[in-house]
Each structure stands twice: as structure tokens, then as C-alpha cells.
């Protein structure tokens, strides 16, 4: 029997968060953590969590699993369970709305701050803007972000300054547009980032890289932005 511990908190009925212990029979199958959550919820519908695609592309079900942030739908029990224990908690550092559902507003606000949309001052041509495969390749490892917040909520700098440090996810998207051959707003983008907090609060601890379920590397992108800012200062 798998020992599942779930973080529970309903603001209407609970004074404070508590832990629900459930004995779970996986029937010997290597289920995904989300399957376990779904089966528990079928018995106890009060358990709240987000989920949608169940295949690791929508970014809904970022949770903290046995101490590590990840997507419940693509984390197999065999990958995470040791000593028969499965501890599921909400993503750390964000206010809890209920159970495993966190308030993501601070995370989304930082994403919006980097103006994550293409800016190009010239009028578009009648067909697509041309871009070589090499130029396009620069976006690989950047555009695939699913905004799951696993990275930013594992980042100590984001915990301390969620209002001023953009955080790994936002910065990765910032660089996605800086790196796009079709974007002409490099200077404006950089000038908005040029303060002690937005970028420079990153201390290269790389927690973000270790947890990204899409295998992206925010630290590297942050390094590129940092270099662009330093070059610009000279």
C-alpha cells in the first residue's frame, strides 16, 4: 500500500492547513501521480487541484511531489516514490487558494511584465516574415515553456522578491523574444530589465533547471540576458 499524504486547506472550513493521509492501492501499476490524485478525488470529491491535458503540455498540474516541483501527470510513481511514500503539496511560495490550488497571479504578473509578444516596428509583408532555420533554432529551448511555474516556485530569489524579481519563467520568455530575429524591440526590452532586481536577483542556484518538466534551462537564458545588459552598459 502506498502512503499518500495530501496537503489540505479549505478556507471556508479549515482554520489552518492539515495533512490527509490516504492508503492507496495502485494495483501494482506504475501510475502517474495525477492518476493517483484523480482516483482519490473519485472517493473524496472535496479534494481540489487543477488538471487539463494529462500529457504534460498545458502546465495546469504543477505541484510539489515528495519535495520536488513537477507535473503530476507525467511523474510516474516509479520515478518519485521511495519507501512507499508519496507526499503531495501545493507549489511553494504562492498563496494557497484551496488544497493543491495556488494563486498564480504573481507568477503571471511577472510574465506580463516582460511584454511576451513580438514587437516589430516595420509593417508586415504580404506573406510571412522570412526567418532562416538557424535563426529559428535560436528559439528552441525557449518557446516550449508551458507556464507551469515549477521553476519560479522553486527559486529562492523569487520567494523573497516575487514582486520585483521576474523569475526564471518570465526571464526565459523575455529571452525568447530577445532571441527572435523578427523582434526589433531589443533596446526597449533591455532598458526595462536594467535594474538591480528584475534580472540580477538571480544567483545562479539552478533550482529552476532541475525541476523544469520540459527540460528547459532558464539559468542559461538569464545568463544571456545578463550579458546583453552588461554589454549595453559598456
Amino acid at each position: 500500500m502506498l502512503q499518500v499524504s495530501l496537503y489540505r486547506y479549505n478556507p471556508e472550513t479549515d482554520q489552518e492547513p492539515w495533512t490527509q493521509e490516504v492508503e492507496f492501492d495502485s494495483g501494482g501499476k506504475d501510475l502517474m501521480v495525477l492518476d493517483v490524485m484523480e482516483q482519490i478525488k473519485a472517493q473524496d470529491p472535496t479534494l481540489a487541484f487543477r488538471r487539463s491535458c494529462r500529457e504534460g503540455v498545458c502546465g495546469s498540474d504543477g505541484v510539489n511531489i515528495n519535495g520536488k516541483n513537477g507535473l503530476a501527470c507525467i511523474t510516474a510513481l516509479s520515478e518519485t516514490v521511495r519507501d512507499n511514500k508519496l507526499v503531495i503539496r501545493p507549489l511553494p511560495g504562492l498563496p494557497v487558494v484551496r488544497d493543491l490550488v495556488v494563486d498564480m497571479s504573481m507568477f503571471y504578473d511577472q510574465y506580463e511584465k516582460v511584454e511576451p509578444y513580438l514587437q516589430n516596428s516595420s509593417a508586415p509583408p504580404a506573406i510571412e516574415r522570412l526567418q532562416s532555420p538557424e535563426e529559428r533554432a535560436k528559439l528552441d529551448g525557449l518557446y516550449e515553456c508551458i507556464l507551469c511555474a515549477c521553476c519560479s516556485t522553486s527559486c529562492p530569489s523569487f520567494w523573497w522578491n516575487p514582486d520585483r524579481f521576474i523569475g526564471p519563467a518570465g526571464l526565459l520568455q523575455s529571452y525568447r523574444f530577445l532571441a527572435d530575429s523578427r523582434d526589433t524591440a531589443t533596446e526597449q526590452r533591455l532598458s526595462k530589465l536594467d535594474d538591480p532586481y528584475s534580472v540580477f536577483r538571480c544567483h545562479g542556484i539552478q533550482n529552476c533547471v532541475g525541476v523544469c518538466p520540459k527540460g528547459l534551462n532558464p539559468t542559461k537564458a538569464i545568463g544571456h540576458i545578463r550579458n546583453l545588459l552588461l554589454e549595453r552598459a559598456i
Binding site: E12, A42, L118, L147, D180
Partner: protein
């Protein structure tokens, strides 16, 4: 329930997937007061899962490509019940809509010339079926939906669209004239229920694949738009037409794109035979999806399936080489390893036909205006009500959708409805306000649920429903089985109507949402079942053992299911494109 708060907009779009966000973008740019209501944060909508691409004649792969060839393929793919005026509009306007996405920043894959990369997909041809396989599907690796959805969200952000994220629409509000004047919606975070008033209500709520036990669709694809529309008394069209995608990963249901076969992968049976050569000598693995899915089921039924239970076939990819797989199909490699525990660069992927797409839906014209039939059987526009995307049936997909045509449908008709509504608002839309009792009517289902006592568990009922659909309305259908299914559904209805909501709390109560979704799943399932039994022929995705032939004499038409009397009427298919000759029905061979 006392009176509830009202919030008012010029246009309200229910759904933040590709279709909803494209419509929203148009309206936001026009300056009208617009809001998007979505039950998940927009980038978590199901469009994010689309893999293979968006089909469109942008003439990148072949400089001579022509939207009329795309139109021909689409008409043929639909098995001739796609509306030719709508298909003409989609295929001819398509390039503009795709270029707009690129200009907005969508990270398409590229050719050496710097143009958008296009890959071959099923059912595609050059020169009206005479010139061999075309490569017409524009792709961003195998993450096209993700790239498209994020780009549209970003575009909306740039244009300051108002989003009500994690708000759940429960029912339509109609006024005394039968016009749609908004929806009732719940803010999931607080549980507050409001009346969202609007002069144009656009449904972009996506599909309902979750009526089946095995599906490529996300958990949230519960057919809410169709459910709400049926409850409001409006009909649905061609709802018996469900696409089973040939390559769902066996056991998990997760999709691997048709792009795999587009890039050169193929299906094999337990003898290692490339069996599609027998069923579709020309197009082989790139025949229409319905054709490939049926061939696979036949292989399995005739004992040539793979695995210990002989219940699936294999998709072979390793011969494409690691370079192609990792650059063009990186997401597929990930999914195969996670859900099938195979590395496609070395081993084939176990696959089986899996419920994928709802061709039917709310009937509309090319402006997205929802339609019903009047007493004389003529089309009648439902004032204030629009539908776009998978929930709509405009109809460009008819009895079988071609791969890559859904994403195109989303952006072309999302845009078209936005343009139309913008003009209509400019001309002035006058509608009577909803009375208190109209609003109460819209609240009645929610009120009943909130006061429920006793009743059965939602999760258990959902499973039962899904199994009935899976077993009685699958790839092959026949009267006896379908009638049994219909009886089982009839028995299930009151149990689902009376399902229990034991947790009445307000804050982020997902149990309440799932109970409401179950009602919608049931509405879609029942309409599917009754209409499928009624259509006594085989056409496109609707394949019957007892009526194996297409019957153009009686069934070259749309089905139209009415919720009140549960009767199925016939509606004419449009055969009058404006700028090209009609494509007359002929035998559909690949």
C-alpha cells in the same frame, strides 16, 4: 437564490482556446467592450495539445499549390457533407489567417528559404486528387497548437483583452424573444455566481471527447457548449460524426500526431506487414483518418493485432533516423517514452484508434451565427448567439475532418465571427433585456445542484457513461448495439440529473464544476447516440455493419438533432461555392 450581480459587455466569448482567442483578438482590436470567460487559464485550453500543424495552401513547399486543391481534399474528406461555401471560405482566406499568426510571432518551423515549413498529412493531394501527395500542413515542430495558443494569448495581452480566467459558464440566458443575452457564470476562486450580459455571446468551448472512455482529449473537454445549447432548446448538427484518430497510444489514449506518418512513419501488424498498402494502395498510411482507423480495427478483429492481447498495431518510426525524429517530432519522442515506455528511434509505438474530434456541433453560417430551423424547415438565425471552433459545425469537416484543418477552422472562423460582430455592433444591436425570470431560468440547473441531497457519486456515473459510449458507439456501429446503448443512456439520465453534490463550499469547488460537466457530457452522448442510430448509412467516420454503403439518395445531408422531442431532422448541405464549380459527390477512394 436572490438576485445576482450582473456584469455587462458588448461581446462575451466563452472559451479561451484557439477559436475563442482569435475571435477575442478581433473584438478587442475594434475597441468594443469584450471579455473572454474560460474555465482554465487560456494557455491550458485543449488547443495547446495540437501537434502536427495547420493545413493551408501558403505555397511554401510547392510554389504552385492552390487553395482550390485544399478545398477539393476537404470536400472529399468530409464525404461530401461539408458545406462547400464554408470550405471555400476557409481554404481561400486561410493563408491570410496563417500569415497573421506568423506576424504575431508564432514560431513556425522553417524551410531553407526561410518560409514556413509544411509537412504532408493524410488526405492531401495536388491538382484535385490527380497530382499525388501534397505537403500542406504548416508546422511548428510537433507543438503547433502550443505555439499557436501561446501566440494568440500574447496577442490578446498586447491588445488588453479582458480575461475572466477560471470562470465557468453554466447556462445560457435567453430573453422573451428567444434571443441569447449572455450566460450565467461561476467565479471558481470565490464561488460567486453572476449574470454576464452581452449583446453577442460567442461559444468557443471546444470538444467533448470525454464522452468516450478512451480519448486523446483533455479532461476539460466535456462538451459544455453543446450541453448549454441543447438545454436552451437549440439543435445540434452531425453530432453522430466522431473522429477516431488512428494513432492514440495504446492504454493511455495520448495522441501521436498524423505528422509521424506524414514524415514517413507507417503502421504494421503483428506479421510486420505494412497493411495500409492493402486498404489504400495509393495514399497508404496517409488515407483519410476514418479509412485508416477502420483498417486498423479490421486487422485487430481478424487476429493480426499486436501484443499479448492482440489489441493494437504498431507505428514504425525508427527508420526515419534520430535526426529527423528529434528535430521534427521531439514531442512525440517525449510522449512515447512517458506513456508507452518506448524510444521511437529504436522501437515501434503501440497505437490504437482513439476518440479524437467532434465533427458535429452547433450549426452556424460562415459568420459564426448559430442557426436553427423554423417550422417550414428554413434556416433561422438565433439572435445574439455565435459559435466557433470545435463546438461549432459550420460545417467544414462534414463526416470526417482532415488533419490540420481544425486549427485552420479556429483561426479563420474565430476571425470571421469577430469581424462580423464588430460590424453588427457598429450598426447597433437592439435586444430586450433579460427579465428576472429569464435569469432565474438560466440559474435553475445550478440551483437544483446546489440544493441536491442524496444521489449518486459523479465520478462513478461519468465512468458508466463513458463505457456505454465506448462499447456501443465506437468505430463500427450497428442498430442492435446502438439501441442497447440508447436504452442504457435512458436509464442513466435521471441518475445523472440527480447526481449528488455533497460539498457545497464556494472556494474553488471542483466537485461542483465536475457535476455540471457531467450533465453536459450526458447531453452530448445522448444526442450522439440517437442521431447515430438514425443515420442509416455509412459515411465518413460513421461506419455501420448493417448499412455498409453510403446512401446519397437519403443521407447526403446534415442531421439536425432537436433536444425537445429528441427527433432527428435533415438539413441541406451547401453545394454552391461562390468562385469555383461545385465538387459533385463521387466514390471516395484513397
Amino acid at each position: 437564490m436572490g438576485s445576482i450581480r450582473t456584469i455587462s459587455f458588448d461581446g462575451v466569448i466563452v472559451g479561451g482556446g484557439g477559436a475563442g482567442m482569435r475571435a477575442a483578438l478581433q473584438l478587442a482590436q475594434s475597441g468594443f467592450k469584450t471579455a473572454v470567460i474560460t474555465k482554465v487559464f487560456p494557455t491550458r485550453s485543449h488547443t495547446v495539445s495540437a501537434q502536427g500543424g495547420i493545413t493551408c495552401a501558403i505555397a511554401s513547399d510547392d510554389p504552385n499549390d492552390d487553395w482550390r486543391w485544399h478545398m477539393y481534399d476537404t470536400v472529399k474528406g468530409s464525404d461530401y457533407i461539408g458545406d462547400q461555401d464554408a470550405i471555400e471560405y476557409m481554404c481561400s482566406v486561410g493563408p491570410e489567417a496563417v500569415y497573421e499568426l506568423e506576424h504575431m510571432g508564432m514560431p513556425f518551423s522553417r524551410t531553407e528559404e526561410g518560409r514556413i515549413y509544411q509537412r504532408p498529412f493524410g488526405g492531401q493531394s495536388k491538382n484535385f486528387g490527380e497530382g499525388g501527395q501534397a505537403a500542406r500542413t504548416c508546422a511548428a515542430a510537433d507543438r503547433t497548437g502550443h505555439a499557436l495558443l501561446h501566440t494568440l494569448y500574447q496577442g490578446n495581452m498586447k491588445n488588453n483583452t479582458v480575461f475572466f480566467n477560471e470562470w465557468y459558464a453554466t447556462d445560457i440566458v435567453k430573453n422573451a424573444d428567444g434571443a441569447v443575452v449572455g450566460v450565467i457564470a461561476i467565479c471558481m476562486e470565490t464561488g460567486e455566481t453572476v449574470y454576464v450580459k452581452s449583446r453577442a455571446t460567442v461559444f468557443a468551448t471546444g470538444g467533448a471527447g470525454r464522452i468516450y472512455a478512451s480519448t486523446t482529449n483533455a479532461h476539460i473537454n466535456t462538451g459544455d457548449g453543446v450541453g448549454m445549447s441543447l438545454r436552451a432548446g437549440f439543435p445540434v448538427q452531425d453530432i453522430e460524426m466522431w473522429q477516431f484518430h488512428p494513432t492514440g497510444i495504446h492504454g493511455a489514449g495520448v495522441l501521436v500526431t498524423e505528422g509521424c506518418r506524414g514524415e514517413g512513419g507507417y503502421l504494421i501488424n503483428k506479421d510486420g506487414e505494412r497493411f495500409m498498402e492493402r486498404y489504400a494502395p495509393n495514399a497508404k498510411d496517409l488515407a483519410g483518418r476514418d479509412v485508416v482507423a477502420r483498417s486498423m480495427v479490421k486487422e485487430i478483429l481478424e487476429g493480426r493485432g499486436c501484443g499479448p492481447d492482440g489489441d493494437h498495431v504498431l507505428l514504425k518510426l525508427d527508420h526515419l533516423g534520430e535526426d529527423v525524429l528529434l528535430s521534427r517530432l521531439p514531442g512525440i519522442c517525449e510522449l512515447s517514452e512517458t506513456f508507452a515506455h518506448v524510444d521511437p528511434t529504436k522501437e515501434p509505438v503501440p497505437v490504437v484508434p482513439t476518440c479524437h474530434y467532434m465533427m458535429g456541433g452547433i450549426p452556424t453560417n460562415v459568420n459564426g451565427q448559430a442557426l436553427t430551423l423554423d417550422a417550414q424547415g428554413n434556416d433561422q438565425i438565433i439572435p445574439g448567439f455565435y459559435a466557433v471552433g470545435e463546438v461549432a459545425c459550420v460545417s467544414v469537416h462534414g463526416a470526417n475532418r482532415l488533419g490540420g484543418n481544425s486549427l485552420l477552422d479556429l483561426v479563420v472562423f474565430g476571425r470571421a465571427s469577430g469581424l462580423f460582430i464588430e460590424n453588427a455592433l457598429r450598426d447597433g444591436i437592439v435586444m430586450r433585456d433579460a427579465s428576472d425570470s429569464d435569469i432565474e431560468q438560466g440559474m435553475s440547473r445550478l440551483d437544483k445542484l446546489n440544493n441536491s441531497t442524496g444521489g449518486e457519486n459523479v465520478a462513478g456515473l461519468k465512468k458508466e457513461l463513458q463505457n456505454i459510449m465506448q462499447n456501443h458507439f465506437g468505430v463500427f456501429r450497428n442498430a442492435e448495439f446502438m439501441q442497447q446503448g440508447i436504452e442504457k443512456l435512458a436509464e442513466l439520465r435521471s441518475r445523472i440529473d440527480n447526481a449528488e453534490l455533497s460539498d457545497k463550499s464556494q472556494a474553488y469547488n471542483t466537485a461542483r464544476i465536475e457535476a455540471l460537466e457531467l450533465h453536459n457530457l450526458f447531453e452530448v452522448a445522448e444526442a450522439t447516440a440517437i442521431t447515430a442510430e438514425e443515420r442509416k448509412e455509412s459515411r465518413g467516420a460513421h461506419a455501420r455493419d448493417d448499412y455498409q454503403e453510403r446512401d446519397d439518395e437519403n443521407w447526403l445531408c446534415h442531421s439536425l438533432y432537436s433536444p425537445g422531442d429528441k427527433q432527428v431532422a435533415k438539413r441541406a448541405v451547401n453545394f454552391e461555392p461562390k468562385t469555383v464549380d461545385t465538387f459533385a459527390p463521387k466514390a471516395r477512394v484513397y
